[in-house]
């Protein structure tokens, strides 16, 4: 009976609060990922609607991210919009990016792909395309690391479990493009691990943009399928 039960101890309360925090963090990750899935897979299926309908799930996800960060008291510096650890993050990224570039060159060479470092968007200046790529990468890294990685660390703490969680989310969001899913799974793990040691979104976005440029320039375009993901992959 409730009357006979003793009030919860401080330890029990703390444990319960932590559990609720973890549950909320899981729900936040699933919620943002589901918004992206809806946007990716709904775009081509939204017959009769304007394509702008995709702004609804994207807008809801952005609203959730901003309000969650406010509620949790996360500052821009906490999230990774900072420069004090920029060089340290670049240093941590240098070796993986170099290895990645070499692997891309080897795979491309083995598959007989022609290397062309101007084919990302041939109608745009490369510098302009790299700048646009950097901005888009910054948005992706903000969501992936500044939101999902930070929630994954609430769920599983720092370390390989939360790194794998982030990599899995990032990889699965690139289905059904198998090549891009594998690449983003590996790259997602590298970025998540680096972010946990040196949270700097600018360095991550820079490496993201450079890695994308290398992928597009070295791997066969037929395999990459124009980097399309979601339902758009089939059209």
């Amino acid at each position: 009976m409730a009357l006979d039960s003793e009030p919860p101890t401080t330890d029990q309360r703390a444990s319960s609060a932590a559990l609720t925090d973890r549950t909320l963090a899981v729900w936040e990750i699933v919620s943002v990922a589901s918004s992206i899935v809806i946007a990716e897979w709904m775009l081509a299926a939204a017959a009769g609607f304007s394509k702008a309908i995709v702004a609804i799930p994207v807008g809801l996800a952005v609203l959730l991210i901003l309000l969650s960060q406010r509620v949790r008291g996360e500052t821009l510096r906490d999230i990774g919009f900072r420069f004090d650890n920029f060089l340290r993050a670049l240093y941590l990224l240098a070796a993986p990016v170099f290895i990645f570039a070499v692997v891309c060159l080897i795979i491309g060479w083995r598959l007989g792909s022609s290397f062309d470092f101007f084919r990302w968007h041939p109608k745009r200046y490369l510098v302009w395309q790299l700048a646009l790529g950097f901005l888009w990468a910054l948005v992706q890294q903000y969501v992936l690391q500044g939101f999902i990685n930070r929630r994954a660390m609430i769920v599983a703490g720092r370390g390989w479990q939360s790194v794998l969680m982030v990599a899995a989310v990032f990889g699965l969001l690139h289905l059904p493009n198998v090549w891009i899913t594998i690449i983003t799974l590996l790259a997602g793990a590298i970025w998540a691990a680096v972010y946990q040691r040196a949270p700097n979104l600018f360095a991550l976005a820079l490496s993201h943009s450079v890695m994308t440029w290398f992928i597009v320039s070295t791997l066969p375009p037929s395999a990459l399928h124009h980097l399309r993901v979601g339902l758009g992959y089939f059209f």
């Binding site: 609720t20 299926a45 009769g48």
Partner: protein, 149 residues
Amino acid sequence: MNLFSRGMLFQLLIGKSVAEALLVTAVAAGFYLTTTNPNLRGWLDQADKETVSGWAVDDGNATNRVDVQLFIDDRFIEQRSANDFRPDVHQAKRAEDDWHGFVFKTPALPPGEHEARVYAVYRGASATRRTLQIIGKPLRFRINAAPRQ
């Protein structure tokens, strides 16, 4: 995170889930309505080695002649307009005039069992998609081997 903040986040997550569920439902319903014509009526009356015939009417636009496609054994055979003389359909009050029938000439087929299906073509509001809706039920028919001379 204090209790108030946690409650606010919880409510936000619930609200977002409900909003997205409604959005997905609306898109699914919209997709169905833009790719399907619920006003199409018709029937596949007969199929044999000579002809495949029936009728098709668009109740939403009764003066319109419905385009129909014949498939035999899942293979496209022919498209034509359902504008043949069928006074019985009009008399049965299924159409507003006598001109909603269709008759396809059955192509040469090998001996054995075959299945005929007729689909109405629906263009919808968007020019980017055309869909097919089956008319009546598929009909099976048999082609006998030619007798030896």
